[in-house]
C-alpha cells in the first residue's frame, strides 16, 4: 500500500542561536516500523524531529529521505511523503473537524485548484481510520483531549504520507487517551505500513509500542535497537541519571522500567546508588 521510504540522518549537527543541541548524529530510521525517541528533557528529541521534517535547518550534516537531502526538496513534495504532528498544534477558533482534517490535503492541491472527489475520499478515509467520523460536524474546540489528538492524527493521515512524525503526541493526555492514541498509531502501522517516528516521554509506553527505540543523551545517540536491547538499567542510569529496575512487563512481554527513588522502595541496599549510611530497608518506610 505505502511505499517504503528510508529516512536517515548523516553527521547532523543542530543548534539554536547560542548552543549546540545535537552534534554529529548518524541515524537510520527503519522503514515500515514504529520508532520511539526517548531521552531527558532538552536532550534534543524535539529538535531532531523538527530537523527531520525540515522545520529547522541543520548547522552541519544532512537529513536524507531516500538518499535525497530533505532541505533541498520542494516543500509540497516533501509534505506528500512525510507528515509531522508538532507539539502544540493550533486550531483556529470554531473550525469543524471535517474542515481541519481537510487542511491535510494541502500538499496535494495546487494554488487555484478546486476540491476534488479524491480529496473528499481521503478526508473520509482519515476520519474513518481514526474513528472520528461521528465528530465530523463538531467544532474542534469542544472535543476532549483524546478526541482532539485523534483529529490531528486524522489530518496528518489525510496527507496520505508514508512517514508520520509525531512530537510528543501523548504528553498532555490522561492515561486512557494516551493508550488510545498509541493503539491507533499501531493500527496505522499494521494496516498501511506507515513508518511512524515519535518522541515520547513515557519510557514504558515507548518500550511497549515501539519496534525500534532510540535513546538520546549528550547531543548524540546513547543506545539504539529493540526495546529489549535499549531499555536496560544501565541505559536508564546513563540517559536519565536514575537508578531503576527493569523487568519484563507481564502484560506485553516487553521491558518495563521501575524507577527507584529514596522512599517507599524495598530494594536490597547493594542495588541502591549512594545510600547514606546503612539505613534500614523496611518496606513502607
Amino acid at each position: 500500500m505505502t511505499e517504503l521510504h528510508t529516512l536517515a540522518v548523516e553527521n547532523l549537527t543542530l543548534g539554536y542561536a547560542d548552543r549546540t543541541v545535537i552534534d554529529g548524529l548518524d541515524l537510520v530510521l527503519p522503514a515500515g516500523k514504529i520508532t520511539a525517541i526517548v531521552g531527558a528533557n532538552a536532550c534534543g528529541k524535539s529538535t531532531l524531529l523538527r530537523s527531520m521534517s525540515r522545520l529547522l535547518p541543520p548547522r552541519a550534516g544532512q537529513v536524507l529521505l531516500d538518499g535525497k537531502q530533505v532541505h533541498r526538496m520542494p516543500a509540497k513534495e516533501l509534505a506528500r511523503t512525510l507528515g509531522l504532528l508538532p507539539q502544540s498544534p493550533i486550531a483556529p477558533e470554531g473550525i469543524t473537524v471535517a474542515d481541519l482534517v481537510g487542511r491535510g490535503r494541502n500538499p496535494h492541491q495546487r494554488m487555484f485548484s478546486r476540491w476534488t472527489a479524491a480529496d473528499d475520499e481521503a478526508v473520509a478515509a482519515a476520519l474513518d481510520a481514526t474513528d472520528t467520523a461521528v465528530l465530523a460536524d463538531r467544532s474542534v474546540d469542544e472535543l476532549s483531549g483524546g478526541q482532539r489528538q485523534r483529529v490531528w492524527i486524522a489530518m496528518a493521515l489525510a496527507q496520505q504520507t508514508d512517514l508520520l512524525l509525531l512530537d510528543e503526541p501523548t504528553t498532555f493526555l490522561d492515561v486512557s487517551h494516551q493508550v488510545e492514541v498509541l493503539d491507533l498509531l499501531t493500527d496505522l502501522n499494521h494496516s498501511r505500513g506507515t513508518t511512524i517516528v515519535m518522541v515520547l516521554h513515557d519510557l514504558n509506553l515507548a518500550a511497549r509500542y515501539a519496534d525500534h527505540l532510540i535513546a538520546l543523551a549528550d547531543g548524540g545517540v546513547h543506545a539504539v535497537g529493540t526495546p529489549h536491547e535499549v531499555l536496560t538499567e544501565a541505559t536508564v542510569q546513563a540517559v536519565f541519571g536514575l537508578t531503576s529496575r527493569v523487568l519484563e512487563d507481564p502484560t506485553s512481554g516487553r521491558p518495563m522500567m521501575l524507577p527507584i527513588g529514596r522512599h517507599n522502595v524495598a530494594v536490597p541496599a547493594a542495588l541502591r546508588a549512594g545510600s547514606v549510611g546503612a539505613g534500614s530497608v523496611g518496606a513502607g518506610s
Partner: protein
C-alpha cells in the same frame, strides 16, 4: 446472528463519511458565497444611492447619462466631478483597507494585530505630516511620500522582528513600539505647524474623502488590480498558516516566503489607500472580524473582508456628509462607531483566547 430491527419508512440510510465531509464543505462555502453576493449587492446599492442622493437629488437616468459621458446640465458637475470620484474612492479604499487589514490579522493569528496598530498607518501619517508641514508640498507628492513611508516602516518592523524567522508576537510588539515613536514625530511636526498647514495636515490625518478627484482614484484602482490577485493567490497559504507555522510547514507551505509576499501586498494596498484617503480609522481593523462573524469559521476571509471594508467606508462617508448638522470626515464616523465595537472585540477575543 445479528438482531435486526424492522426497517421503517423513517429510516433513511445513514450518510457515508464521504457524504458528511462533502456536505460540511459545501455548507461552509455556500454561506461564504451567499455573504459575498449580499455584500456586493449592498455596495452596488450604496454606490448608486451616493450618486443619486445628496443636497440635490438626481434621477438614476441622469446619473446613468453622466456615466455614459453625456452632458447633463447640473448633474455632470455634481455627479460626474464630485460624487462619482468620491464614491468610487470610497469603494476602492474600503476594499484595500479591508483586504489588507484581514491579511495581517490572519497572518499574525490575532485580530488585534492590525496595520493601524503596528506602525504602517503611523509611518504614512508621520511622513504625510512632515511633507505637508515641513516640506510644504501637497497633492500627489504627499501621497507618494506616504506610500513609500508605509512600505518602509513595514520593512523596518519586519526586519527588526526577524530573529531566525519572524514570530507574530514579536512583530506585533515591535510594531507597537515603532508606532509610538512615529506618532510622537507626527505630534511634534504638528505642534510646529502654522495654522494653515496644521489644518490641512489634520484634515489628511483624520481620513477624509472631501474633494476627491479622479487623479487620486486611479492609483488605488491600479494597486487593487495588481495586488489583490497576489493576495488571493496566497489565500490557501494563509489558511494553512492559521494552524501555526510548524503545521503549515509540515503541510508544504513555504512559510517565510509566503509571509513576505503577504506583507508586501497587504502593505501596498493599505499604503495606496491611505495615500489617497488618509488613514481612515478602524476600517482595516474591523473589516476582518466583522467578516469572520458573518461568514463563519474555516473559510477564506479575503474577499468578504474587502467587501465589508467597502461598505464601511461608503456608508461612513455618506453618514458623515448628510446625517449630522456639519460635514464630518469619514474617519471620525468610523472612529466613533468603530471604537465601541473594537472594545467589544478585544473583550471577546481575549475571553475566547482566539484567533481569526
Amino acid at each position: 446472528m445479528t438482531l435486526t430491527r424492522p426497517v421503517t419508512q423513517a429510516d433513511a440510510p445513514r450518510p457515508t463519511t464521504v457524504e458528511i465531509v462533502a456536505r460540511d464543505r459545501v455548507r461552509r462555502t455556500a454561506r461564504r458565497r451567499a455573504v459575498i453576493t449580499v455584500l456586493a449587492l449592498v455596495i452596488g446599492l450604496g454606490y448608486i444611492v451616493s450618486l443619486v442622493a445628496g443636497q440635490t437629488f438626481y434621477t438614476p437616468a441622469e446619473v446613468f447619462g453622466v456615466i455614459m459621458g453625456q452632458d447633463v446640465p447640473g448633474a455632470s458637475f455634481t455627479v460626474g466631478r464630485l460624487r462619482l470620484p468620491r464614491a468610487s474612492l470610497a469603494v476602492l479604499a474600503g476594499l484595500c483597507f479591508g483586504m489588507g487589514g484581514v491579511t495581517f490579522q490572519a497572518m499574525l493569528r490575532n485580530p488585534l494585530a492590525s496595520p493601524d496598530i503596528i506602525g504602517i498607518s503611523s509611518g504614512a501619517s508621520a511622513a504625510a505630516a512632515f511633507a505637508i508641514v515641513t516640506l510644504s508640498i501637497s497633492g500627489t507628492a504627499v501621497s507618494v511620500v506616504a506610500i513609500v513611508a508605509g512600505l518602509g516602516v513595514a520593512m523596518l518592523v519586519y526586519a527588526l522582528s526577524f530573529k531566525s524567522g519572524v514570530v507574530g508576537t514579536r512583530l506585533i510588539l515591535i510594531g507597537i513600539g515603532i508606532a509610538a515613536m512615529l506618532d510622537s514625530v507626527t505630534a511634534y511636526v504638528l505642534s510646529r505647524a502654522a495654522m494653515w498647514d496644521l489644518q490641512e495636515a489634520t484634515r489628511w490625518l483624520t481620513g477624509s474623502l472631501n474633494g476627491t478627484s479622479w487623479p487620486q482614484v486611479v492609483p488605488v484602482l491600479i494597486a487593487l488590480t495588481v495586488l489583490a490577485p497576489v493576495l488571493l493567490g496566497q489565500s490557501r497559504n494563509l489558511s494553512m498558516g492559521q494552524l501555526g507555522d510548524d503545521t503549515a510547514s509540515a503541510l508544504g507551505v513555504r512559510v517565510e516566503r509566503s509571509r513576505v509576499i503577504l506583507i508586501i501586498a497587504a502593505v501596498g494596498l493599505i499604503a495606496f489607500a491611505t495615500a489617497a484617503a488618509g488613514p481612515i480609522a478602524f476600517v482595516a481593523f474591523l473589516s476582518g472580524p466583522i467578516a469572520a462573524r458573518i461568514v463563519g469559521p474555516g473559510v477564506s476571509l479575503l474577499v468578504p473582508a474587502a467587501l465589508v471594508g467597502a461598505v464601511l467606508v461608503l456608508v461612513g462617508d455618506f453618514l458623515g456628509q448628510y446625517a449630522f448638522g456639519t460635514r464630518l470626515p469619514v474617519g471620525v464616523i468610523t472612529g466613533v462607531l468603530g471604537a465601541p465595537y473594537l472594545i467589544y472585540l478585544i473583550i471577546r477575543t481575549n475571553r475566547a483566547g482566539g484567533s481569526l
